[in-house]
Symmetry: C3
Subunit: 138 residues, 3 copies
Amino acid sequence: MNRQSSLEFSTPGRGTSDITDAVARVVAESGVQTGLVHVFVQHTSCSLTITENADPDVRRDLDTILGRLAPDGDPAYRHDLEGPDDMAAHARSVLTDTGVTIPIGRGRLLLGTWQGIFLWEHRTDAQVRHVIVTVLGD
Amino acid sequence: MNRQSSLEFSTPGRGTSDITDAVARVVAESGVQTGLVHVFVQHTSCSLTITENADPDVRRDLDTILGRLAPDGDPAYRHDLEGPDDMAAHARSVLTDTGVTIPIGRGRLLLGTWQGIFLWEHRTDAQVRHVIVTVLGD
Amino acid sequence: MNRQSSLEFSTPGRGTSDITDAVARVVAESGVQTGLVHVFVQHTSCSLTITENADPDVRRDLDTILGRLAPDGDPAYRHDLEGPDDMAAHARSVLTDTGVTIPIGRGRLLLGTWQGIFLWEHRTDAQVRHVIVTVLGD
């Protein structure tokens, strides 16, 4: 039994948006009791991550850390067609995840208490992002 | 044909534990011949990785590298409720993997000769960690 | 309905090879209309990533960034049996992905316009790499 949905999210620029509820809705509608849900962004300058859902400072600190690992406007970059955040965004996407997979049990997402699914925008400007959610199982 | 198991591991604090055999057991018990096994930690301060299984210095060096990318007690962190390793552990979890997926063929994990599946504790103190293993296939 | 293929790629040493077409062929041959395809490298010193497929400078910049995060020949490494790129390659593998999963819809890979699937060699010398492609779905 499979189900696939295409979701659209507007991001306000760099930072994280909690999409756990949207993914949980697709799982509930699928009727799958035991299986997997896969979440995928069709872009190369944003990403997905599963991280702490309680204290927003965690996501702020994660942006601080990525800002060191792949800084904006680094003079070593050759790819800067769309501005100083262009290559930094591609690199941050690669260092995190284009897709995440979460187990489903008893018809529900088997996330831990403190886990949320976040869409992570790495461009500084607002964007519209497309996400494919696929459910496989019984 | 699906099978899902919940496993529990005690970690002695920061470092890696080889959980390949535990995952292989769930695969063997599932009877699945061709498919995928997904392994997922229900936590945001430890992670999973597939890496070299022969020389323990590899995992030691990986901890050294993560210690530079996301150092303990960085003054830039705002989130430090649980101590200097708190935010560092969340960041190391995000830079590695909350879940890994491995192909199954002829009823066995299709890992390469030098690949092992490791539970990677990022907190300095001992923890109990919950892992969900889900097998999908025929 | 499942299908699994073992692919072999020769890499010319450090850098990326676009394997999107080879993965798409396995998906087409599977006949699966809705589902997931999982791509897995059986090695610990190369990796897979989904990134920008248009401007090769993006992949060059990604190598530059990884070269800072996990430099060759770092004196802190204990594992250097196979040369200065040995531990750096393991670390770059862990910071990127051993496996990637892509949704399938209407029998095709649901990649975004600018997304490609790349095999990323982290060793400096040429290698032969084995990749397992597994398709699950209806």
